[in-house]
Amino acid sequence: MTDSKYFTTTKKGEIFELKAELNSDKKEKKKEAVKKVIASMTVGKDVSALFPDVVNCMQTDNLELKKLVYLYLMNYAKSQPDMAIMAVNTFVKDCEDPNPLIRALAVRTMGCIRVDKITEYLCEPLRKCLKDEDPYVRKTAAVCVAKLHDINAQLVEDQGFLDTLKDLISDSNPMVVANAVAALSEIAESHPSSNLLDLNPQSINKLLTALNECTEWGQIFILDCLANYMPKDDREAQSICERVTPRLSHANSAVVLSAVKVLMKFMEMLSKDLDYYGTLLKKLAPPLVTLLSAEPELQYVALRNINLIVQKRPEILKHEMKVFFVKYNDPIYVKLEKLDIMIRLASQANIAQVLAELKEYATEVDVDFVRKAVRAIGRCAIKVEQSAERCVSTLLDLIQTKVNYVVQEAIVVIKDIFRKYPNKYESVIATLCENLDSLDEPEARAAMIWIVGEYAERIDNADELLESFLEGFHDESTQLQLLTAIVKLFLKKPTETQELVQQVLSLATQDSDNPDLRDRGYIYWRLLSTDPVAAKEVVLAEKPLISEETDLIEPTLLDELICYIGTLASVYHKPPSAFVEGGRGVVHKSLPPRTASSESAESPETAPTGAPPGEQPDVIPAQGDLLGDLLNLDLGPPVSGPPLATSSVQMGAVDLLGGGLDSLIGGTNFVAPPTAAVPANLGAPIGSGLSDLFDLTSGVGTLSGSYVAPKAVWLPAMKAKGLEISGTFTRQVGSISMDLQLTNKALQVMTDFAIQFNRNSFGLAPAAPLQVHAPLSPNQTVEISLPLSTVGSVMKMEPLNNLQVAVKNNIDVFYFSTLYPLHILFVEDGKMDRQMFLATWKDIPNENEAQFQIRDCPLNAEAASSKLQSSNIFTVAKRNVEGQDMLYQSLKLTNGIWVLAELRIQPGNPSCTLSLKCRAPEVSQHVYQAYETILKN
């Protein structure tokens, strides 16, 4: 049998010939022709013109021929929907065939024909097949429900197929159960809210039983489904884990990884004191290691996952360093991944071995791999202090090889080592300087420039070296470093280098189009010209330590990825939403919360750095260390918060520094608020507010401030490297404040908080620095009330009440924006007298009037009035016209804008009408919103 001949027909008029053959009387000839058609289809030729002829061959008792015709149908039915109907009858007939294989084939194929008209005819046969006596047909029908759902979800729901599918979970045949689980999981993914996979202890028990009996693929479907279950307590979690662990010995790596996923997830719920917890940890290591003897592609998937697991639970594989040693014949993708994991597992115990290996790798052929190996040596030096000296000497050996990219990579990492261990290894600078000429990559040049600038006092010819770099100043990549380095040099050796510094400053400020460079140039220039001592303090300030671990995956993302072990997301190290189109799989998964009480005790332990928490506050990630000398500026002196009443000058100074430099880094338009911010408008409003209260309303007894909305999450932890901020705005006795709740969801302690607002419509600005008194340790939450003033810079925002906020901590600067309710700006002296009200109402042109409906607000005039009054909307007069209550009200915004209102309330009618008049009509919309929120709460 040589079917390959079908691939070689390239004659003209081929289609015509095929047509004739398809209609031939001889069965053999027909079959040959269909084969030819399929072969052409495979190579991408369009053979859709033969549709009717091929469909005519469908009525046959030759199963092989039938399958070929079906294959053709699946491919072309969509392009010929009307013709496809011709096939329906055969399908329906086949679904009744006595042979279960044919019944299954028909239902399987029908589901793949994506033509709306056909799906209608599919329902009845499918319903029968779902209840077929033969398990083979049932398991095929189960998948078919998922196919149908993909074409027409509504139809599936209307026909009640979902319930039938749920029933199949209790089927006696394990394969039917597995396919039903797979189909339901897929359908559930596109309906995240629906409770399709109603998992409860009973159904879980059924799944666990089926797990022991079904095929390897079925086990994967079931384990993946189990991973979505949330056990109700730690005992249930443990019992599931116990029944899943035997899967770790399965020959199929996917079964093993899916089992690992379930275990890693449910382990979260187990207490660490439990004996079982330790046993489980021990059981996880061997199967993970075994995955490394699988085929290379699977090794790659396994290594990407191990990378996550090592970050989440370093204790599992800490003794298994050797298995990650690179083999000479490993494919490059396996090598690079192994190297990553080696660095993560490096510790004092195994550092000697690791270093010996890395040195070996640095002589290999593949450039990427060699670079990574060199970089790894540097990481080891930083991670394991005892090895630093050996690492440095290894790096020096490598520099001696003079291999261009090795030298450059080595210089980049040596810079980090200098940062980590100041004043220890500077003796090697001379060697580094010998290799200046070979540096052609920006990163290496930048590192070298930084080193020369930082240690200018020890390098005799530092000025010459930097001058030589300056010749190529227009090579943009290292300009910032060069500028800073020369300023440092100047501050250290002012006498000889004045000319050089002037040259670089003028280059930066006059000849450059790069705003970052220009801004930095000006800052240095002004600093140097006004106060060289301060300049010294700023530019040569002590740098913060660099952290030991780099490219750690951010904790919230890591937790999410752990829930996706084995899947593509874990291979890409990205959440599914980053690479899956549409609604599927975009639901965020998260690890279950730990139920045991030992939470606080263990949190520092889980931090992969393992450094005592006391050391952490001044650690920033090393990636940013080129920026380090800039960043450490704005971390500034620790803001030891002066309480509200103390001298505002001091606060202003701090703000100036923080704000000004923030804007340099972020490139945003932050402007430091003027100094005398807070206390100015404190006294008066309270007084007048109170007197107003007394003179008008005897009904309102309580001195409750204006309405406060519940806190909403403004900055999710996902976006801010673990810092979650939620908050709301309040106005109480004349002062506005922003009530913040900061939660640290990272593994690292957070300190040095500061806050800045962008310019906004009403000049809102923090009236005091953000005071977080103690460092915020992991999982801790603090509540802070930040007083606000309204004397900041003003810029009209869109929408009007938009507020852009920057929050900084020791990790990074984060930006978010929020909308504030306008009523926090209604001042206490917002009551107009009647005459004035009348005059103003008339005075404001009619086109400035806006009308709104407030629905579902069954309040009488009295109650509405008092409710509004507590939020500083004052009733000036009240009238009753034709059975309607008319309230005339006034309010004043912090910036002096008056808003006049007429509120018409009809007894018995739940909605009322609000007319607003104001000289600045754009606020009306927001005032209306304020009314609505106040009245409805």
Partner: protein, 440 residues
Amino acid sequence: MIGGLFIYNHKGEVLISRVYRDDIGRNAVDAFRVNVIHARQQVRSPVTNIARTSFFHVKRSNIWLAAVTKQNVNAAMVFEFLYKMCDVMAAYFGKISEENIKNNFVLIYELLDEILDFGYPQNSETGALKTFITQQGIKSQTKEEQSQITSQVTGQIGWRREGIKYRRNELFLDVLESVNLLMSPQGQVLSAHVSGRVVMKSYLSGMPECKFGMNDKIVIEKQGKGTADETSKRCLRQESCGKQSIAIDDCTFHQCVRLSKFDSERSISFIPPDGEFELMRYRTTKDIILPFRVIPLVREVGRTKLEVKVVIKSNFKPSLLAQKIEVRIPTPLNTSGVQVICMKGKAKYKASENAIVWKIKRMAGMKESQISAEIELLPTNDKKKWARPPISMNFEVPFAPSGLKVRYLKVFEPKLNYSDHDVIKWVRYIGRSGIYETRC
């Protein structure tokens, strides 16, 4: 789940294309060809994402198999499936080559229809598949046969059909080990492990229940806690075997083995598929017998000459013979000529492979042999130093380097009238080199 599956030849021409999901179009076929098969650089990852479509590929000789998806699929499962598919195809028509694929494309489509439904892998055991995917047209199956097929495909014992009969009940056990070593030039073992497989060929009637036992340390120690009488028996047996128990780091089993029973009692019981299958895989790292030691000596004489001397020592019982020994000594790229002298076997410089290949047919235990070579180098101004790849070695020995011994394999078939004693059993041990390298 898997959205489509394509098979290409080395030129990137499509041989098989089967699309399972609507989100995968014909353009995906071309995207993979352009971005992976025809890519200028070597492939850096077996998973490629092109325009939000993910491609998983494996290569068999010069055939590319690619699975395509747009969803967050189980990546490990996709690769396992691709390997499985290769196994199934190999079981049907032998080597996976362009010729064979073209010749069997109808069969492949039929298989793909059966083992992957809407992208979900279904039963892919060749034993089961061969009962109903035959390419013989429709056989007139009786109703009984049909239901037997479907119950086997979906059943709990999907890998074996009922009613198998042999006149002679016989089974073969092969313990196949590959021993891996990475040694430093000074003779220090950097890493060593044995990955082993127990392959079983069974020709047994009915539905036999089997129980397999080996000198697993955990099992032996457990039994050691039994009565003193038993202990002394065990000692006797051990003496006769001449080998202590071994510590198995981890093992995985064919899906016929009852994993929960292994987990609780550490006993390996199963109903085997008919014919050949891999019963278990295991890995050991402790007390490995390294059959050979390689002692390299490389000396650079000036810039144009290298002197290499390599000694190999065999380290096992003198009565045993190692076979197919091959030592591969890498040479620099700028080698111009090589002179070799070896005491035993044949050695040749192979310029195309940049290596001296030294072959010895047989070598007994506790012996030693030596090769020395002078390598002439062309002067180059290449700054890059020669990477000095490790010296690798291949061999085959008639014992298990891990020390694993089969203690028993008991067969019970309650319904048929044959007992454990009637089964003829064969056990064979083969140790091969895996990656057996010594740095120089």
